[in-house]
Every structure is written in C-alpha cells, then in structure tokens.
Amino acid sequence: MAKSPTEVKHRVSGDWTISGVESQFGSLNDTLQELAADRCKAMQVDCAGIDAIDMSGLQLLHLWMEYAKAQGVGVQLVNLPDCMQQTVRQLGLGPCFSGNSPVEG
C-alpha cells in the first residue's frame, strides 16, 4: 500500500466468495489498523484483481467500507471487474456500491 498522509491506494484480489471471505477478512482487518495508524483520510481500492465474488464477499467489502467511513476514511472502489459489477446488479446492491468506478484510466 502506497503511503500518504491523506490518500492511499489499496489492491484487493483473489477469491471473494464464501470460500475465501475469511482470509480476505483478515487482510482487510490489518488494512484498517494501518489506516488508523497512518491517519489516512481517503483510500482508493483497486478491485481489478478480484477473481470471483458473491454476496458474502460484497457484504464484507461493503461493511469494511462503512467501518472505514465511520473512522473518517473515505473509500472508493475502482476497476470493478465485470463479474463483480454483474453480481452487484443481480443482487440489488447498486445503492451500496454507487459512486464507485468500474474502470479508472
């Protein structure tokens, strides 16, 4: 993760389905602690590396974002892969993930 007092960039990748959410949770938890330690104000999360995601993974991501927001850190998801965008739509999670970018130039 690139270090900056105001904004950081973070990459998430791998399996975000029920099979992999527990290991992803651990990684996100560590990131939150680093954010708090670095007193960041904003974080850009690059989702291009996500191989697969389901409702459990989206729930995890959403709750992580909400928690970070509660800590005063704004989170933006970028480079959402097609599979993720489709799953968001199909599960009615559009409002939860609005304001995020599918692709960032």
């Binding site: 029920i18 409702m55 459990s56 968001v88 599960l91 009615g92 559009g94």
Partner: protein, 686 residues
C-alpha cells in the same frame, strides 16, 4: 469454508425425473386447440421447479433449456400465443433434451449439444414468430427489469426476504431467484444490511443481508412465493399486496441503504386488500417439492429409500421366515401340553412373522402403471413415424407387482408393443379398406389371476398370417406340417431368428425379438402365450408370479425327497382307484377324473428317485393346472402346507429343469420348488 451440496444432488435428480415424467404425460394428453388451464399451469410449475432446482444445484445448461420451455409455456398460459401440435412435439423433444442433460450430470453419459441447440433454436423461432425474440432477463443497478411485462392488469407486491445467518454457508445463490422474479413483471430489488458489530469481531460467513422487492405482475402471490421454495422457509418471506397508490411509496424507499430491516412475517395489507393480499405462504395453492418448505399434506409422509436397502430387508426377512420355520419344526417334538406356553408363543411368532413378511413384501410392490405410462410416448412417436394412427388404451394400471419384475417386464413389453405397431396395426388406408376404423387400438391390460399377474398386449390389426409363418419356418429348416393347429403355428415365431417381415425396419423385423421376449419372461418365472385371428388382431399374454420372493406351497414327499408344489397350481388331491387308471402306452398312464383322462406324471421316474412308491393306488395323485392344461402328478405323501422363501437355484447352483427354485425347510433340508409348466415340458421331453 467449503460446503459440499453435491450429496443432495440425487434428491434433485429424482425430483427432476418426476417433473419430466409429469410434463410428458400432460404434453401427450393435452388438447392443443382447447388446452386445459390447470394443465398449462401444471406444466409451467413443473418447468419452473426444474429450472429453480437446476440453478440452485449448479446445472446452468438445464436452466437454459428449461427457461426456454418455461417462457413459452408462460406465454401460452397467458394467451399471448396459441398452443400448437408443432409446439407440443418440440416440448416433448425439449423434455428429452433435459432428460439427456440430467443423465449427463447424474451418470456422466454423453450429451448431444447439437440436439440441444436445435431444440432451443426451434423453440426460440416459434416465440420469435409471434413476439420479439426471447432474451434472458436483465436487472439494472436499481433492480429494474429490461423486459418489463405489461402489468396493467396485474398486482403489485412488496416482498421481503430475510434469510437466516447461514444463507452463505449453505451455498445458496440468490441471483437465479431474482432473475426469475424479474421475468414475472416489473421488478425492483434492493439489498440492505442489518446493523453489524464492530468490524474486528465481524463473522464474514454470516449473512447480514435482507432483500426488499417490489413486483408488479399478473402472477398470483402464491406463484411469487413459489419462487423462493428452494431457499426460504415460510417465516423468512413476507409478501403483501400493495394498492396502486402504495406502489410509489414503496419504490421511493427502495433506494435507502442500511435502514433497519422491515419486520417480516405477519404484516397485514395496509389498505384491507382483496383476497389477493396474503401473509406468508398460501398453503392452499403452494406445492411441495424438495427444499425448505413446511409440509402439511399426505405426500410428505413418505421418504425415499434406496432399492438396495429394501432388497436387503427382504432378504433378511426371508432368513427370519426360514429360522422361524426351523424353530417350529424343532418344537414339534415337544409335548404340546407340557410346553403349552412355548407352543402358544411360537404360534404368535408365526403370525407376527407372516404379518411382518407381508408388510415387507408390500414395500416392493408397485403399480404396473409405472411402466404402462411409458408407452403413451412410445406409441405416440412410433405411430407418428410410421404414418399410422393408433390409440393406446391402458387397463388395470393399479395392478401391483414386485418392483424387480416391473423393471424386467419393460423390455419384453416394449418389443411386443413395437411389433403391434410395426407389423400388426395397418395403415389408415388399409384399415378403412378392410372396413375397420382408421385409428387402430393397442390395449395394455394387467390383472391378478390367482397367484399370478397376467399382462396382455392386444391389437386390432392384421393378425398373424399362418401361411407366411409356415413358409418362413420351412425356409429356416424348422419342421412343420399343414395339420399343425394355429396355436402350434403361432409358437413358431418364438424360434430364434424368425421373422416374416418383408422389410427390416428400425423397429423390428430382424427376427431377434420374440425368442428374446420369451426367454426374458421365462427367466422371470413367467410364460408367454400368443393368440391371433387373421385380419382381426393378435393378443399376447404374459403370465408372471406375483413376487419372486415367497410362495405358498404344499410339501410333498417322493421317496426320500421333499418337493414344494405351488398352491396356485393345485386343483385337488386324491387317491385313485385302480379302475380310474389306464395304461395307454408302456410307461404312459392316464387317470380318469370326472369324465376327463389326465396324463399321469410319475415324479419318482421324472427325477430318478428309485424308492418312490410305484403303485398309484398306494400313493397320492395331485391334479395340477399348467397354464390351462390339466395333468396329474404322482407323489408318495402330502406333508402339509407351507409358505416358503424362494431361493434361486440359478444364482446358487444352476438351472434345474422342472423347477422354479428351491427353499430351505425347517429341518434345514433343501426342497425343490416345482413349476407346473416346466414340469410338463420336462416330462414331454423325456
């Protein structure tokens, strides 16, 4: 964490097979010019159930084909397009395709992708000819469908699904469910999350989500709720009908995020809705299938048990009967007065064992409709391919017989029906010329007669041609004579390689059929009898034992050997007077009984038992019926009636002529079970 749902696949396969059979039954019987509304709904529900289950269990190929059928059926039942015979034939083919896909997933068999594409393409073309081509439903970011149905005449429902925390770990996918709902009308979907604990103590496998939906549809609330049948219990779904004015309010709240979940379960409609407003499930109209539903009706008091387990139970029951018989045999030596209580207990044991045996045997008894129903499709397709018009009549479909026999009977029956279609029933033109109705009739009839099941295949076709059969037999080198009776001539067609067909068709004519039919039926302990009238039709009788497992028989002694004679073969027993006996030839005698001279079969000579009683006047003559032919058996002594467990000689030793198997008696000895017809055949051969 991985959850293996594949162990539940067999449940889906079994249910899917039942749905496919039901769909085929309705497709074959429905009137395309005036289809019954309930039958159309039943077809839709069956297709919908298959699709839902396929989606849940991860068989997207089946989802795709079933979706095509379901969509067309939905349009038919909403009177958007008319049902045609062409469509029905395509539906039947589509059902075959799904069956093939099912077999592919279940058994690993090959799947013909070209056939699948072809059927789906033709179904799609039918749909496209009436309205814009069918496309898979789309759900945009706010959950609105891309192919909204005209809902002017429909109802608007607010649906809340609050799943249990283990939704994710159950590997349930909600996408197919919401996609289904989107096809039903104007659909909006919003997911919300319940208040959650601090992130560090959050359990990522626990479902905190619930979904709120607004659906405007012409479907009933029951049909909407049915969508969730595979994933939700009753208390997890709430549905209420909204009045038109409430619909707008419902939609505007759909975009709120993280508001507290709507309390589910028992909310009443806010404006005193009509009978369409419902709470929870409508038990009167929802249907029970596999999945998470509260079940109330008789169907759900059954459980599925593997055939192997039932067979094992029957085998163990048979051993129990033998052991009980041994106990009874040993107890005969005990004084009935001194050991009165013991004898009484043994009587009770015998009664209880018999009752238990009957109960266990009844588990394997299934109605013959199990195979009869397959022939509707067979006759329909074959008559179509042959350009003939044939009506299939089924009688006695509730007649029950052993499941093992049912399965073995399928092939012989299929061949007989194919023969009737191919060689028996004439073309409509020929039939009319012969003064017959253009539509031929094939009748499958089953009945219980005594201790046997009789299955008949009858047709009103051309019947057997005696001259052609005699010519063909002569060509095959089979000795014949013009003085042979019709019955003897008909028996010639059971010769291996015999066929009088002018042409070999795909169906028959290769001459490998009737002899195999007879062999298969004989192997089941049955026999085949054929009668025919030229120009009027043929009738084939298959006589089978009720069950392969037990038999009521009379123990008889011949010399030092004990035999069992099936009770249903015995007419009467008597001790003959000398005057009633006649020697017609050296070693051949008859016995005169009430005006009939019956051939006398000496079992002692037949089975080479030298110490058997020689003079009939000193022995017992049993009059037996061997499929309509009466004969007399000479035995030394009658020992008593017993119900015995049949053990296969072929399995344990080899086929023994004149017998139907063997059994173990109470004293541990093995007794051969005689077969009347086989006995006669053996006697005649000697």
């Amino acid at each position: 964490m991985d959850i293996d749902v594949s162990r539940f696949n067999q449940l889906f396969f079994d249910e899917c097979t039942e749905h496919l059979a039901e769909m085929e039954r309705i497709f074959l019987g429905i009137n395309p010019s005036d289809p019954d509304r309930e039958e159309l709904n039943a077809l839709f529900r069956a297709a919908h159930s298959i699709k839902g289950g396929a989606g849940i269990f991860g068989f997207p190929d089946m989802v795709s084909v079933t979706h095509t059928i379901e969509t067309l059926l939905d349009r038919v039942r909403h009177d958007e397009i008319a049902l045609t015979s062409e469509m029905l034939n395509l539906f039947l083919q589509a059902g075959d395709v799904i069956t093939m896909q099912l077999a592919g997933h279940r058994d690993g068999t090959m799947v013909d992708e070209q056939a699948i594409q072809s059927v789906c393409g033709e179904l799609g073309a039918i749909s496209a000819n009436s309205l814009p081509a069918l496309q898979p439903p789309r759900v945009d970011p706010v959950g609105r469908t891309g192919d909204s149905r005209e809902a002017a005449a429909g109802s608007t429902y607010r649906i809340v699904f609050t799943p249990p925390p283990n939704l994710y770990t159950r590997m349930v996918r909600m996408e197919p469910i919401f996609a289904d709902l989107a096809t039903m009308g104007d659909f909006t979907l919003t997911a919300r999350f319940a208040p959650h604990p601090e992130f560090p103590v959050y359990d990522p496998t626990r479902c905190l989500a619930h979904w709120e939906m607004i659906l405007t549809t012409s479907c009933s609330a029951a049909e909407v709720v049915e969508i969730f049948m595979f994933v939700a219990d009753e208390e997890e779904i709430s549905i209420e009908q909204l009045p038109p004015v409430a619909m707008t309010a419902g939609r505007s709240s759909a975009l709120a995020v993280d508001s507290p979940p709507v309390s589910h379960g028992k909310e009443a409609a806010t404006t005193g809705a009509t009978s369409g407003g419902l709470r929870g499930y409508d038990h009167a109209t929802t249907h029970s299938t596999y999945g998470r539903r509260r079940e109330e009706h008789v169907e759900t008091t059954s459980i599925r048990v593997g055939v192997a387990k039932v067979d094992q139970l029957i085998n163990q029951m048979g051993e129990l009967v033998i052991t009980q018989s041994m106990l009874a045999q040993s107890a005969k030596q005990l004084d009935p007065v001194q050991f009165e209580n013991f004898h009484r207990s043994l009587s009770l044991l015998e009664r209880t064992t018999r009752d238990l045996q009957e109960s266990v045997m009844s588990i394997r008894m299934v109605p013959i409709s199990f195979i009869f129903n397959r022939f509707q499709r067979l006759v329909h397709d074959l008559a179509d391919s042959l350009g003939k018009r044939v009506e299939l009549k089924l009688e006695g479909e509730t007649t029950e017989l052993d499941k093992g026999l049912i399965e073995q009977l399928a092939d012989p029956l299929t061949h007989l029906v194919r023969n009737s279609l191919d060689h028996g029933i004439e073309s409509p033109e020929l039939r009319v010329t012969a003064g017959k109705p253009a539509v031929g009739v094939i009748t499958l009839r089953a009945s219980q007669q005594g201790g046997r099941i009789v299955v008949e295949v009858t047709d009103d076709g051309a019947g057997l041609n005696r001259e052609r059969i005699l010519d063909k037999a002569a060509q095959n080198g089979v000795p014949t004579s013009d003085s042979m009776s019709d019955e003897e001539v008909w028996q010639l067609i059971f010769t291996s390689g015999f066929s009088t067909a002018d042409q070999v068709t795909n169906l028959s004519g290769r001459g490998v059929g009737m002899d195999v039919v007879q062999r298969n039926v004989t192997a089941m302990g049955g026999r085949v009898i054929l009668t025919s009238t030229q120009g009027r039709g043929s009738r084939v009788f298959i006589s089978l034992p009720l069950t392969l497992a037990i038999l009521d028989g009379l123990l008889v002694r011949v010399g030092s050997e004990t035999f069992i004679v099936p009770l249903n073969s015995i007419i009467e027993s008597l001790q003959p007077r000398t005057a009633a006996l006649n020697e017609v030839a050296p070693g051949q005698s008859t016995v005169h009984v009430r005006g009939n001279y019956l051939p006398l079969i000496r079992l002692g000579e037949l089975f080479a038992i030298p110490e058997a009683v020689q003079r009939p006047e000193d022995a017992i003559v049993m009059l037996i019926d061997a499929d309509g032919e009466q004969l007399a058996l000479l035995v030394d002594e009658l020992l008593g009636q017993h119900q015995v467990v049949i053990k296969s000689l072929e399995t344990n030793y080899r086929k023994v002529a004149g017998t139907a198997g063997a059994t173990i008696l109470g004293d541990g000895q093995v007794a051969l079970i005689l077969d009347a017809v086989e006995l006669v055949r053996l006697w005649r051969s000697q």
